[in-house]
Symmetry: C2
Subunit: 118 residues, 2 copies
DNA sequence: ATGTCGCGTTCTTTGTAGGGCATGGGGCGA
DNA sequence: TCGCCCCATGCCCTACAAAGAACGCGACAT
């Protein structure tokens, strides 16, 4: 029995899923597609965008630069041209540290709650 | 004989001189003054802005971030808040390297010219 | 099986708030 | 008279959001 198309396609995410994951509007993702040639996902026959995990990594990089670091779109674009893949590594590290920070803040709150309860 | 006021004042640059140095309009400098609290030069009795070399360093930092790196104004502002003085050092290094690069490009051109002439 | 109703999601195209200055007017001191 | 001051207003893109059409899918009736 050959693979059903659905099974193959589920390697991909829809634009709505990506939008939800980053809490942005689909229109923003489509707009960035016009601004960053790196962000050109496959499309289904119907024309729907199909995002691979790699596509999502690229989106995350752009999101980080534009929304978290405050780059303009040309600024982010230039940086990606030069630094390309190195950038992903750096951002992964940053995001790991950010998670750790959040964890520690939570811990601190709980510790504060305990010490006050006494 | 006491210092004449001119001698003291000539420690300073006018907005026009600063504008010329960076090849920007005075209106841009005034506008950035409303956006970056770090960029608030002294003013003469008359109200004219008096830029010290330190003020110019601050302007250079902003110029570098906004015009050369492609940060938005809020992005540059946030970066200056956190990194403040460290940033100046980094930018000094970058600008030195940039000068060296230009020098080397010039050298290369001359070398090319020589090798072609033969 | 087949029509179709409605809902959610997607598409592309068009509209738009506001970010980032520039310009113009009126005034002042050297 | 020149160069700077301070507003106020003007203005052009940037960076999206909204509008409107089309599609896919389940439910329900035919």
């Amino acid at each position: 029995m050959p693979y059903k198309e659905r099974d193959i396609e589920k390697q991909y995410f829809t634009i709505g899923e990506v939008a939800a994951q980053f809490n942005v509007a689909p229109s923003l993702i489509r707009f960035w597609e016009t601004e960053f040639e790196e962000l050109r996902p496959r499309k289904s026959k119907k024309g729907n965008r199909l995002y691979t995990p790699q596509d999502i990594d690229i989106f995350r990089t752009i999101y980080h630069l534009v929304k978290e670091r405050g780059y303009t779109i040309p600024g982010a674009r230039d940086l990606m041209k030069q630094k390309g893949p190195q950038l992903k590594e750096k951002i992964d590290v940053i995001q790991s540290l950010e998670k750790i920070r959040k964890f520690m803040v939570t811990m601190k709150k709980e510790l504060d709650a305990i010490s006050k309860a006494q």
